[in-house]
């Protein structure tokens, strides 16, 4: 709603033809350097099981890199739920390896740092997982579970000619089945030919939604903005836990925060000892060529 109103105001601002801006100098005090963690596991794509570790930096620090933290000890351990307790299977603990220790990776993926990865991990739906990190004498711990997958049933589209520029607009809708339980979704959309995502951040767009309005039924999800004729569209409809959803929902608002009505948004971390999230994704994947 606030975004809509902000756009109204932008239109009005343009209407008034008076809004101006100028660069100013802002003197901000230095902030504390906190650890930041993004840990992701899923049941389908091994390339999307990774942990990213970095630190916050002063707001006006000219460093615009990932600022990854190296030489951390990172472990992911599966568990078993027994009654109200979780028993962690230490023998199945997997150590995630700093990819920058792999010879040649700096040349292959320049600028990528602070990423920890392992091909040995094979997460499963419904299993609890524990994340343990020791980095620069700080300890981080987090928990997640991969929820049940909501399968994408169908993907279809409608073709319309844009008379203004001669393009063919492709309006895409997909349907999925939402179960009776409370479900939370993070939808990643990859537009364009790309064999796989190297990190969730390489997706083109994201959407956050839950079943507060539309529960227990076949749900159509329509993209209001059209794609182009011939586009390759990859949809990753992921089910996430509630805490993970609250983190990514607050993250989405923080990432799009700005304008006159912006309020400070603090992301709702679901890990202890750092800012960030440990998220188990139950992925339903569908890739189509729209034509």
């Amino acid at each position: 709603m606030k975004n809509i109103l902000y756009h109204i105001l932008l239109v009005l601002g343009m209407i008034l033809l008076t809004a101006c801006e100028k660069e100013i100098t802002v003197d901000l005090p230095p902030g504390k350097a906190n650890l930041v963690v993004e840990a992701s596991i899923n049941q389908q794509f091994p390339n999307l099981n990774y942990v990213y570790i970095s630190r916050t930096i002063d707001y006006f620090n000219p460093d615009l890199s990932l600022n990854g933290v190296r030489n951390a000890l990172v472990y992911i351990t599966p568990g078993t739920i027994v009654g109200n307790d979780t028993i962690w299977n230490e023998s199945a603990r997997i150590q995630m390896i700093d990819i920058n220790t792999i010879p040649g990776i700096d040349l292959l993926l320049p600028g990528f740092s602070g990423i920890y990865f392992s091909t040995a991990i094979s997460p499963q739906i419904g299993i609890p997982y524990k994340l343990e990190i020791t980095a620069e004498n700080e300890r981080v711990i987090g928990y997640t579970t991969i929820p049940k997958v909501a399968e994408i049933d169908t993907v279809f589209w409608k073709q319309e000619l844009d008379e203004k520029n001669g393009d063919t607009n492709m309006f895409v809708t997909f349907k999925f089945t939402d179960g009776p339980e409370q479900n939370n979704y993070r939808l990643a959309i990859q537009n364009g030919f790309n064999p796989y995502l190297l990190g969730w951040g390489s997706a083109s767009q994201f959407r956050m939604f839950n079943d507060g309005f539309l529960n227990d039924g076949v749900v159509p999800y329509s993209f209001f903005r059209p794609f182009n004729f011939g586009d390759t569209l990859s949809l990753y409809l992921t089910s996430v836990g509630r805490k993970e959803y609250l983190f990514w929902e607050s993250y989405a608002r923080a990432a799009n925060n700005g304008g006159p009505f912006a309020t400070p948004i603090i992301v709702k971390s679901n890990i202890q000892g750092a800012i960030g999230s440990f998220t188990g994704y139950g992925v339903s994947f569908r890739s189509v060529i729209i034509r």
């Binding site: 033809l17 100028k22 916050t56 539309l214 609250l246």
Partner: protein
Amino acid sequence: MLRVLLSLFLIIQAINSNAQTVSGFVKDSALREGLAGAIVKTIDGKKGAATDTRGFYKLELNQGLQTLQISYLGYVTQQITITLTGKNIKVNFSLGSNAISTKEAVITGQRNNKNVTSTEMSKVELSGEQVKTLPVIFGEPDVLKAITLLPGIKSGGEGGTGFYVRGGGPDQNLILMDDAVIYNASHLLGFLSVFNTDAVRNVEVIKGGMPANYGGRLSSILHVNLREGDEQRYKLNGGIGLISSRIMAEGPIKKGKSAFMVAARRTYIDAMVKPFLTEEQKSNGYYFYDFNAKAHINLNEKNKLSFSGYFGRDIFNFKSPTNQLVKFQIGWGNAAASLKWFHSFNKNLYSNTIFIYNRYDLNNKFEFGENGFQLSSGVEDLNIKQDFYFTPNKKHSIKFGGQYIYHTFKPGIATGQVGTITINESINKQYAHEWALYAMDEFKLGNRFTFNAGIRAVFFTQVGPYTERIFDSEGIEIGQGKTYNKSDVIVTYPGLEPRLAGTYLINSNTSLKASFTRTFQFLHLATTSGAQFPADLWVPSSKLVKPQLAYQYALGLFKNFNENLYETSIEAYYKPMYNQIEFKPGANLFFNQNLENEMIFGEGLSYGIELFAKKKFGKLTGWIGYTWSKSTRQFDEINQGNPYFFRYDRTHDISLVASYQFNKKWNGTLVFVYGTGNATTLPTSRFAYSPGYDLIDNEPKYTFIDVYDKINDFRLPAYHRMDISFTYLQKQTDKFESSWNFSIYNLYNRANPYFIYFVPDLEELRIKAYMVYLFPILPSVAWNFKF
């Protein structure tokens, strides 16, 4: 009980019946409306009285020949000689307007040393005509913008109509239009208020020392009184501005007995800007409109009925330029109606009985092909007020009465059809009774002391139907709690609000005043922003949400100079506030059943000193006000529990208004305002997140997220600007008047901060800060007419 009280007062009145009373109304001869604050006094000046808000006066005089003088700023003074024979008589006066001085921008309602002698502190009044003489933006005179030029009342910032009184929040101001509550007083997202100045008779603002007949909000009362309508002849007023036009018609229904007033306004901003918009933007449309209607009938000398109504809406339409299936409409606005019965029991006792309905609602319609849904929210009140005014003798002026409001809160209703799923969801409605009983007496002790002692008893009861819904720490509904049937009491908050004010008259031109108030507020605005949005919700006090509470202590020295030509005052106030409400950082307020658990509760403190000097008469009139103040908030969950500056804390605030009457045709007004920059929260650090590798561009992708350590720790640059306006009276006859208002807003082109944003510059490898400012120097013109 009421009968017993009335009988008691009638007995008291009988005891005093030997007094010879002269009473009546002082009215504007053209508008036929009562003049508030007109002076009726004996020619020797020994006895006199000021008219009340209806233009009513009452004098106790000796028998024999008496010469009365009736005066009111901007009107021709009258004298009349009457013979008093022992019987109480009624004498009404009609004063003719003085064309020159009615154009002066001065505060009305205080013609002599009333500001010194009365117990009122912190009360100011502006007339609709005065608002029109002030410099305006886009040719739109605005009541709410005008009052922010008064000391102690601060503007929310560039372009907004939000106002903040003595460190209070925007929801702590009770905004009334002819006694009906206006929950969202803004059009155009705050750029204009809902008040059509053509329909406005006057505006009263009480920012402290709130008398016992008012309550419900912690910080201020803003009462906008609409015009009554001319009982003698038909008139047409209007104005054409750059972005909207307005028109007002009034006239007699039955000459001398009843009258009507209707007014309308609409913006044509949508039509005017279309040529400047891109093709994509042209599919959007925005406009607002509002209607006012008022009518009254004098049934007889003792009874008068009046009706007032308002309806206004803002409409925003959107059609996707790329997807014809997608469209939505957002509409929001207020509706209000009040029916008022004035009844005079006798010369000492009269009453007002008012029935009021008011509503604020927001409706959103979304459509995408065969799917669509509607979302609506709002608040609705049914309200009855009963006020008695009793003057048993010269030394006592008593008011007593009560008020009852039935509130209905509709936080959100969603209906529609999406795919196979039918949407029929709603956030629980809430219902509440709000009661108040009050009594107050303004009385004199000797020649120097005057006191106003009052007490207001308030009760707020949340009632059913309501079903408690229980949520876990992650915001998931895990069950239902207790169910309350209709009228079942969920929670009750009683409260006593003592109101005390006193004046010590040092001499006829100097007084020392003090006041103390305790106020509760049972309604709260759910917003996370400084501006008021259409989607902001009003929520009631409940089991979890305790009523807000404030105390205010004020002390003032008032002194007039040069036979009341100049008024000056210095006031200090101290205002602690409790049960203040904020929302958790990042809280989602939209369609959230679990809204109460997003709230956090804390305290506030505000204190300051206000200086005020005013020149009331002559070619040059105006005022200058200076405020030094500090306002903080403290919440355990915010800013590590440490107190932080309220967003609108403003250490220094200056307002200067000067109006000069060059001749009968030309009047000029200059306005200068200065305020310390608003306190704002800026990020202290950032981090990169959600990395991915773009195999096509062969580089990493990630997003920067801001980190905030301290709240409102940064000050925006100071706000200051100068405006100037000239009003040219083009033609003035008995039947037609037209004038032009030429304004220049922001005369020296000050870039005042609206907001700051940051952009990483990947080429220069640094973060750049930009300040957006809305209005550079802006000339505008408006044409106003009267038939």
